[in-house]
């Protein structure tokens, strides 16, 4: 369980409601809101995990990180879901339950699957519950999507610019491409990865 002590706050004087922050927030914590005479970005304190992606991306430097009044706990229990089902979904995604999916917060595959089994249907819901994609915001998206697909969940269009549903992986490379580009050792890597991560029904 990770304790989050900070959150994003929008400077109303600087914000021009361009909505860039809305489109990049991995936990959908920011919405545009109508205030008296203006529309502004507004942060939902209960959702924001203080990841700073919005701060980095805001073209007007209108967002800052501030201390939370009360800490937010991010994390999920894995003991109350079927361990066998967790294992099966991880295997279908070529993963191990204990394997790390998010390198920043060290979230494991079994935690992501537990959230899926508890009803999460999108990367954003998983991010809110586990913290994946709230560190670097980049590296773990394809693993998250692979686990969702392995659990049989179809992904609709993402909100904003957060993901688009790429399906390319070592398991999807057409045979003719493998033959055309031998210098990339595609067959050999497929074999090596399948040896290390057996299973696989993610498609």
């Amino acid at each position: 369980m990770r304790v989050v002590n900070q959150l994003a706050r929008v400077d109303e004087k600087k914000c021009n409601a361009c909505s860039t922050c809305v489109k990049v927030c991995p936990v959908e914590a920011i919405q545009l809101e109508k205030r008296k005479k203006r529309t502004l970005a507004a942060v939902d304190d209960q959702r924001c995990v203080g990841c700073t992606i919005c701060i980095s991306i805001c073209p007007r430097q209108a967002i800052e990180r501030v201390q939370r009044k009360s800490p937010l706990q991010v994390g999920v229990s894995t003991g109350d879901v079927s361990q066998q089902t967790v294992k099966e979904i991880c295997e279908a995604a070529h993963m191990y339950p204990d394997q790390v999916v998010c390198y920043c917060h060290r979230v494991q595959a079994k935690e992501v699957v537990a959230v899926i089994l508890k009803g999460a249907k999108s990367p954003e819901e998983i991010s809110r519950a586990t913290g994946v994609r709230t560190g670097c915001g980049v590296l773990c998206i394809s693993s998250t999507i692979r686990l969702l697909r392995a659990a049989g969940i179809r992904l609709d269009k993402a909100p904003g610019y957060q993901w688009y549903g790429t399906e390319v992986s070592i398991w999807t490379i057409p045979e003719e491409v493998q033959k055309k580009y031998p210098m990339f050792y595609l067959e050999e890597d497929l074999q090596a990865i399948n040896d290390l991560f057996p299973g696989g029904k993610e498609r």
Binding site: I53, C104, S143, Y161, Y164, K180, M183
Partner: protein
């Protein structure tokens, strides 16, 4: 011999304030230096520029000379041109050479083609504000009259149809009629690219959105993943816009020159050969070291800290021959990051290469935040020096780093403590030194002793094998 000058501290959102950096590793009395020239007399000679002004002058001339070989006539007056850059170039040997190359390309395109719709689009890794900082620091915002900006992987994407399916680039990268790809050839993330298609990598990274980058890292092996950049480059969408590639040539000894080509595949083959020749010996030498304390003292993220043109990341994996394509590795960071348990133990030991066992202690005096590094602290005995330890605690990408590292009051104490538990007098520093390493005297002696054998081994056995594996005669 005196120590080599370390990189100066950098003022950035991602680095410690310079005033908090009390001691540099190069100032430790037990340190000396060893240069590549003395280790390997056949090392390439760098441009002999002594000052920044001189570097700029030489790079300008070399860039113009290389552009003279190219046909830019496709660019019509009024056409838009995106000069594409990557963040690492702004840090290679201080960044001056890369920046001057970019400046010169802009001026030459404007002069020869009669367009001033020339934009700089600089792709970044995991520190989204970094390139805007570089652009401002080097004055590129003024040079490009405001048409210069950093682009991030969370910017709006554009679908690119490739032979292996749809991949996603950053829309702003591809917004112009013409693209000029600027990059540098150093081996940098050898653990990812294995010197296969290294010059294509930015198409799957710097210029791509999070998913394509994530697929590269998580869903492909470190040989196969390099196909993604190649596929994007080969797509009709990109080929229609691609005009040329301009490469800053670098070697462990420094900046070597500038090379430009219309054919990135051909250029990549040339640089594959050169990189194996230029980097093979020093990387192999690092792999022969048996034990050392490492001190990190550079304004870059931990595995991207450099010494002599090599990354600490290259040393982390030097115990395996990453150039040898027979050796398979699983996806992602150091091959083990995703399979290391909270106790620091590898889950699948038989299949994974551990971090270089020669690293007996890791001391972090100074580095940037903004790259996930917890697994290094989990697997290596790690000490962080006071202010840097505090800085790690504020890093969104390393929220538990200090749970696995010890804090030392200052660098002197950190080194004394590390010596006791590491039981070695060898010290290797990653501090941005150019053309050599700052090391302790015993390690300098060890390197000098090993170098001749390494040189013979690479020349006679390894180099022919590396080339053969890449289809190069």
């Amino acid at each position: 011999m005196k120590t080599l000058s370390p990189s100066r501290p950098r003022i950035s959102t991602y680095t410690l304030s310079p005033e908090l950096l009390k001691t540099r590793a190069a100032d430790l009395p037990e340190l000396t230096s060893v240069t590549f020239e003395e280790l390997f007399p056949d090392a390439p000679r760098p441009i002999p520029a002594k000052s920044r002004a001189e570097i700029r002058k030489v790079i300008r001339a070399l860039t113009l000379q290389s552009l003279d070989q190219l046909d830019l006539s496709k660019i019509q007056p009024g056409d838009s041109v995106n000069i594409l850059a990557s963040s690492h170039g702004f840090t290679v040997y201080g960044g001056e050479a890369y920046v001057e190359m970019i400046r010169t390309i802009r001026e030459e395109v404007k002069r020869r083609c009669g367009t001033d719709k020339i934009y700089l689009r600089a792709g970044v890794g995991l520190r989204f504000q970094e390139n805007d900082e570089h652009i401002k620091h080097f004055g590129l915002d003024k040079d490009f009259t405001g048409k210069a900006e950093g682009i991030t992987p969370v910017d709006r994407g554009v679908p690119i149809q490739t032979e292996i399916g749809t991949l996603y680039g950053v829309e702003k990268v591809y917004s112009a009629r013409w693209l000029i790809h600027t990059h540098n050839n150093d081996i940098r993330e050898l653990h990812y690219h294995r010197q296969i298609g290294r010059l294509f990598k930015p198409f799957a990274m710097s210029y791509a959105t999070i998913e394509t980058r994530s697929a590269y890292h998580q869903s492909m092996g470190p040989r196969a993943a390099n196909l993604l950049g190649r596929m994007i480059y080969e797509s009709p969408f990109v080929r229609d816009k691609f005009l040329c590639s301009v490469m800053l040539q670098v070697a462990p000894t420094g900046v070597i020159g500038v090379d430009a080509s219309h054919d990135l595949a051909d250029q990549d083959r040339t640089f594959t050969r050169l990189n194996l020749a230029w980097y093979g010996k020093i990387v192999t030498l690092l792999g022969r070291l048996k034990e050392t304390i490492v001190i990190i003292d550079y304004p870059g993220p931990l595995p991207y800290t450099t010494a002599g043109g090599l990354l600490f990341g290259n040393f982390i994996n030097a115990s395996v021959d990453e150039f040898d394509l027979r050796i398979p590795f699983p996806p992602y960071n150091r091959y083990s990051d995703m399979l290391v348990d909270p106790g620091g133990k590898l889950m699948k030991e038989k299949n994974l290469a551990p971090l270089n066992p020669a690293i007996r202690a890791l001391i972090i005096n100074y580095c940037s935040k903004g790259f996930p590094c917890v697994s290094f602290a989990q697997q290596l005995p790690t000490l962080a020096v006071g202010p840097q330890a505090d800085f790690f605690r504020t890093c969104e990408q390393n929220s538990t780093f200090m749970d696995y590292a010890l804090e030392a009051e200052n660098l002197r104490k950190a080194v004394d403590i590390a010596r006791r538990f590491a039981r070695t007098e060898n010290i290797l520093v990653f501090d941005g030194a150019i053309a050599g390493f700052n090391v302790s005297e015993p390690l300098a002696e060890e390197m000098r002793r090993l170098a001749p054998d390494v040189s013979r081994e690479v020349d006679q056995n390894l180099m022919p094998m590396w080339l053969r594996q890449r289809g190069i005669q």
